[in-house]
């Protein structure tokens, strides 16, 4: 927790995505939460762990399911000043994925490094 130049509280809030997209709504509604929170000038980050990394895969086409897709919204996060996107290295590797398979630039970290970042947070919300 810090204060910004106007003396307002700035909290470190990390959202954790651990679920695959589409099979359940958690990642999608989690992303909606991130977008709203991004308007409040807090220190927001997102970490993608386990099946959460699948949310970032390129070329998701949900038209056949008649479900609204949202992978592209992750690309827009930049415009909302949400720039701290961390991806768990082991989660990528287990799934046979590489950073270039993902729709956005992310920081690939090992689990201990993400664990340290988690511990620095004022709030951690698993979506």
């Amino acid at each position: 927790m810090t204060e910004d130049e106007d003396g307002e509280i700035v909290k470190k809030i990390m959202h954790v995505m651990r679920r695959a997209p589409h099979g359940t709504i958690y990642t999608y509604e989690g992303l909606e939460m991130v977008l709203i929170m991004s308007a409040y000038d807090q220190d927001i980050s997102i970490s993608f762990i386990d099946d959460g990394v699948y949310a970032l895969l390129k070329d998701q086409d949900t038209a056949g399911l008649e479900i609204k897709g949202f992978a592209k919204t992750f690309k827009a996060l930049d415009g909302y000043d949400v720039e701290k996107l961390y991806v768990d290295k082991v989660s990528l590797e287990e799934r046979g994925l590489k950073p270039e398979d993902l729709i956005v630039d992310v920081e690939v970290l090992d689990s201990a490094a993400i664990g340290k970042l988690m511990k620095e947070q004022d709030v951690v919300i698993h979506q």
Binding site: R19, A20, H22, G23, D51, L57, Q60, T62, G64, G96
Partner: protein
């Protein structure tokens, strides 16, 4: 008997468990998050390849496309919902989740 599996094999033990109960020749259909099971080059490749030696394996193509899965394990057959209905016409269904 048609076995369907809709859970991610990473998140949940449904694939690991169901395989103990599936008899040879019975078709296995992956849908929803279950389709990650047949993405090529993940840690479940060997499990699926072993299954393919004794059982036909299907996945719903709409679920594959929705998840941006480009390469599926060889011999896994992609079908649509009408293909799913055809399988149900021939078999009773055992839905694992």
């Amino acid at each position: 008997m048609l076995h369907t599996i809709n859970q991610s094999p990473f998140r949940c033990n449904s694939l690991k468990t169901s395989i103990r109960f599936i008899l040879p020749d019975d078709p296995v259909l992956f849908l929803e998050d279950g389709v990650y099971s047949v993405q090529d080059n993940n840690t479940f490749k060997q499990t699926i390849e072993t299954l393919l030696k004794t059982n036909p394996v299907y996945a719903i193509s709409h679920d594959i496309n929705a998840r941006g899965i480009k390469n599926t394990i060889k011999d896994v057959q992609l079908i649509d919902y009408e293909g799913f209905v055809d399988l149900v016409e021939k078999h009773q269904v055992n839905t694992w989740f």
